[in-house]
Homo-oligomer: 413 residues x 4
């Protein structure tokens, strides 16, 4: 199976092998959580316990030392084979660790001891399996470039108010990062971010996640009431509503892991369908796999998976190359739009094809796949989450890709 995603670095190989070792348990544990919509606590605990959530932590700080965003994508796709909800939760945390470690390496390379030390502490806490990260990012009724959550001045810092949604992993996180609008003293609006402990006063997790699929991901709403953010903890990431490295690179690469989770979901559906048709027989006694129509449908699935894998592999390699070529903050805007344009192509294709693969697996299952007890009916619900992930919605992605390709201003109308 040459198209199957494979790690390209040695630490990545360990990361992927570790992910594979969890798949069977995740698939088992997911059943009850999917049914009652409760958080996949034991699965996340297992990933934490095995060190998988510390895979990006440098070896000297207690991790596997993975530096390949491509290989992290592969590892997440493997988790997705077991439980998509766990995989997207793991991605949420892992992307933080990836960028902390990247910044730590950059700080060390630049001789910036203070930054290196601070990041090193964050990474060590993860290496010691003490810290888990989530993100207060999405909000209802607006897009991620325009958060309505906003900070206002208070003594020694800011007070943050707002309403966040889809806060995956919120039940297990120790620490979170929030995005918000910050209007400075000159009236200029910025995109601001801050890290803080998730038990800080004023943070109300609503425990209300109840969705079509990904039911174990704990993606609750979170309401923020006058959450205090110390002055020094605020990071400004560029003009409010404008493209920046954060959106074009960091958000895109976070999403790369996400869409790999959906490849894993599709792969699980494909495996189940192949299992069914190679074990069940028609009323006439023939193996279903011997039917030309079944072979045709299996070929369609195989082609769709090949497309997904080829695009993910190429995009992951391009991401590795991009991150190697440019230090944080150093990439030209045009290059970042090219990277993001290519990523948006991959995202659209993989999310769509993953849905189609699951649909075809259901087609091969006969009516049994429609029953709640079938893994296929669960995968059908999970896989549809993919296209909702921002940025961009499918509606926006075509506009963005077209504009970048045509050399026009790529703002979404």
């Amino acid at each position: 199976v040459n198209f199957e995603l494979q790690p390209v670095t040695e630490p990545g190989r360990r990361y992927v092998a570790l992910a594979e070792s969890h798949v069977a348990d995740l698939a088992l544990w997911r059943v009850a959580h999917d049914k009652d919509g409760t958080f996949v606590a034991e699965s996340i605990a297992a990933l934490k316990g095995s060190g998988l959530l510390a895979a990006n932590v440098p070896r000297e700080l207690g991790g596997l030392g993975n530096t390949s965003i491509h290989d992290q994508m592969v590892a997440l796709s493997r988790l997705g084979r077991g439980d998509g909800a766990v995989a997207i939760a793991a991605n949420m945390h892992a992307i933080f660790v990836y960028f902390f470690a990247r910044d730590w390496r950059a700080a060390r390379a630049a001789g910036n001891a203070q930054a290196a030390e601070g990041l090193g502490e964050l990474l060590s806490a993860i290496g010691r399996k003490e810290a888990t990260y989530c993100f207060f990012f999405t909000e209802p009724g607006t897009d991620v470039m325009h958060p309505r959550a906003e900070v206002t001045r208070t003594d020694g810092g800011w007070l943050l108010n707002g309403h966040k949604s889809f806060v995956t992993l919120s039940e297990a996180a120790t620490t979170t990062r929030a995005s918000f609008k910050l209007v400075d003293d000159r009236g200029v609006a910025h995109l601001g971010m801050a890290l803080f402990p998730i038990d800080r006063t004023g943070i109300e997790i609503k425990y209300n996640w109840d969705a079509l699929g990904m039911r174990g991901s704990g993606s609750h709403d979170v309401v923020l009431h006058d959450v205090f953010v110390p002055e020094g903890d605020v990071v400004l990431l560029g003009e409010y509503g404008a493209y920046s490295e954060f959106f074009l690179v960091s958000a895109a690469l976070s999403n790369l892991g996400l869409i790999a989770c959906f490849l894993g979901v599709a792969e699980a559906a494909r495996d189940e369908a192949v299992r069914l048709v190679t074990t069940r027989r028609t009323s006439g006694g023939k193996l279903l796999a011997e039917s030309p129509a079944v072979q045709h449908t299996v070929a369609e699935m195989e082609i769709d998976l090949a497309v997904c894998r080829a695009m993910l592999a190429r995009t992951g390699q391009a991401a590795n190359a991009f991150l190697a070529a440019y230090a944080p903050g150093a990439a030209p805007m045009a290059e970042m739009h090219e990277l993001n344009r290519d990523f948006q192509c991959t995202k659209w294709v993989v999310n769509r094809k993953a849905i189609e693969v699951v649909d075809k697996a259901l087609q091969l299952s006969g009516g049994s796949g429609y029953l709640s007890r079938s893994v296929l009916s669960r995968l059908y619900r999970d896989v549809r989450a993919g296209p909702f992930m921002q940025p961009f919605s499918p509606n926006e992605a075509f506009q963005y890709i077209g504009k970048v390709t045509l050399g026009l201003d790529p703002r979404i109308e």
Copy 2:
């Protein structure tokens, strides 16, 4: 909206208007049943109470006197806008009534008073809102042309044993029809059918329906233990496993109503999506509907619905013409294959496009459509039931259509 399905007869217009009057209630009542998987009892009671379930009963026997299979299809599509589970349950019953009434008219036209009387009694019981029908048809692990349920000789009749599944409406039915294998004294295998009360000894409804969607349809498994079937109640419908009028015409036309239910599901999704984009605004304050990408997606949905409606209208009219041209039992085999081939084209397209319309409605909804409380997340689960309905699965339909078109023996391999 010229493509919207419209009745073509006067009784049909009353049927459709009656169906429309139920839509809002069905949509309301479905919510709880969808959540806990319980049967839509009050919705079915309402359809019974209003006379909708007697629409095909001749006026002199207490019904609306509908004789148009096309118009019944339209009425079912309207029910599907409110609740797909109710619509497919109503179809199950209605198709029986339709053929009882057709046979009654044929018996009267042929001067067969005895047959007319017997059918008249069945119809009158429906007209009096006393009888509701379901069908013991599908079985796990085989197709509907090859039931494994089988009768064996006993005094004065037969004993029926078997295991049926997907018995929609079983909770509300008073009467059922079962399909089975009957091997006669010469060793020839036939497809047999019989009508009997659903409370007959030996019938065990398993109350185990728990599926991805259509959760309120009560489509339980039913186990048959030595159910007694009197000699005279058995009807033989042709050679076991062979094509017959029952499969090519009756089963196809039953399915015509079914796929219309899925059009209704898609129409409901489209309406909800249009409602969302014409009331919600972007972070910049523009109505979502003003976005070119939203307009493009809405156009795709509109085109898909136009395709479904055009095919259903044409197939419904062809079905009306076919039923008018041939008395029961009189249609040539080649004509029946043509009818069924055309129906299979329509079935495949409508089931597929209905799924795509719901998918696009989700796309337009942003993340909110993925929440359990969104009607779109319910429609996404319901609409996927369409392609499972036999005959034929999508895997088989292409083979069948191709063979009939090419003039080959149309048996499925």
Copy 3:
């Protein structure tokens, strides 16, 4: 074949039968013209000679008396089976005759003897096989709502200058109608039209049609140098660049015949493919039709044709109903947009599916279909003309359909 288009009126049946009688000759004669790009003169002469081009002329004025736009669509689809270039040329002329006859009936119904007489003369000339019509409509570099051809004042009328393209049938036409911009004395710009003989001074047919397909249609460029248009011959059809009955109804219904031509092209490809696979054998001696993959592809073609036929039938019937419901000039704007929206759905689907059917026929042909001598290679070139026909291009159609559906101003941006 229940989905096949069939006439719904008695004169329409004669029209269609006449069209069918020409198919074999058209298919024969097309070969040489397709090769060298010359006009299909003998085919057009045959249609004229048989009275087909006078089918819409009232019986009392020498025609077949067809009044059904649906049935004309069916007749044109039949011509398309023989030669798409002839069919689109016949459509160009026939749509004129259709609207002349409709206006003649309206004038008679309204007791407008003068108008009836004028139109009666035009129709009689067609009935006597003397007049053939083409249209100076499309122009390079602009759309048909914004002609750059323009009239300027001169003694007793106007001088028309401009450059028209895609003037199908220009080699055989006796008379033409031109669209142009007319700025009145108050500076208001109108869309103007005028009928005049094609040999009027200043009309230069360029005889330069050389295209991928439809090579026999004689769709030359025409340059207009100070062509004199008498004052009384100018008809104003509404504000320049604005929607009007002309665009929303007449242009749409002209296009309905056009897209039916492409259905005919697709049907010819399907027939050829079926012929090939039911006569050729594999190296192993099996008929190609016995291959499951061939059956699958044939089923795909059959489904695509069913979709096209269902949509055309329904749109043709809707058009008949619309024309019956509203006298010329009497339809409300919203109704006209609904009609045109529905037509645009049909147009997009039929043009696209026709292309796909031809593509699949090629797929079934093996390499032999790629040779110039194969009818399939000709149909592949012809069928791609469909989406170019204005209004609207596929790029615009989605926008238009979306806007009308969403209740927005349907102007194209």
Copy 4:
């Protein structure tokens, strides 16, 4: 443009750069040959003259020393941007040289001086720009695994009779290889091959290539009348009609270059479409590129190209790895089927998407793209050749992919 194919070796970079230097001339020269169907002699002469046709010849024998099948694929895609007919002709020759050079390296590594010397002479003749190769392979009415051309015993060798078709490059070739059936003395049928000069007695090139597209490729029929093949020149490649390394590896990798040619054709169409929409304006004066619908269509093309490029890149790299892992004759059958299965996925996708990209470019062109003088109308004809290339036809490919995936006997029925 990260998805664009790029060479991965240093000699490959020179190969690709050389190919790029020819593009403009090929595009210019193709016009006349496409019109009159004559062979692209000056283009092939230019490729020969520049050394491009010797790119796979080892440096010490006068070539560029390319050893990467991936990079050859990239170079051929570049030629395809200029003229698809030239590109497929170049592929025909280049794949011979590639395998000669591979065998030469293997022979040297194995210390087989005699084989190395013979192959070295062939390669030197190519390095000296003296020899050009074509292939007598395809035949009408059978597939390439079952040639009907056959050899019969004669003194000192064999007499070859048969009829070959699609013999691309036959006008320029000095040498050819023929496939044929050879029944040995025990009655066992083999697939045989032999190399011989193209001017050998009995070879009749029919000079009859006249096709929809690829009109300059000189892909004539060739009739073989008692062509003498010396005993020692016959190579047996396995059982007649059975899978072998020749079919699963060599034929697949020949096709890899072919499909890359069609990527080049699609890229040329995309570039032309982008040029048009970024220079033309609507009647209202706006650049076409500013239209949301145009941006949407451009995005669709970009996504399709990204898919093609990702799959080709991954398949090319897999091919490089396969050729590095296994010496000629050493690969296990199952591995070869996996390689070919993956290749068939890529082939199907790239051929189909290339067609769609050209179709969308036409859509963006408005009517001007349909004229014979438009490069897009030429690309539309050329690009459709892709799916005809054996093995396998699309009809067969799905069956093959499905069977290999399901672990069934992968013979085509």
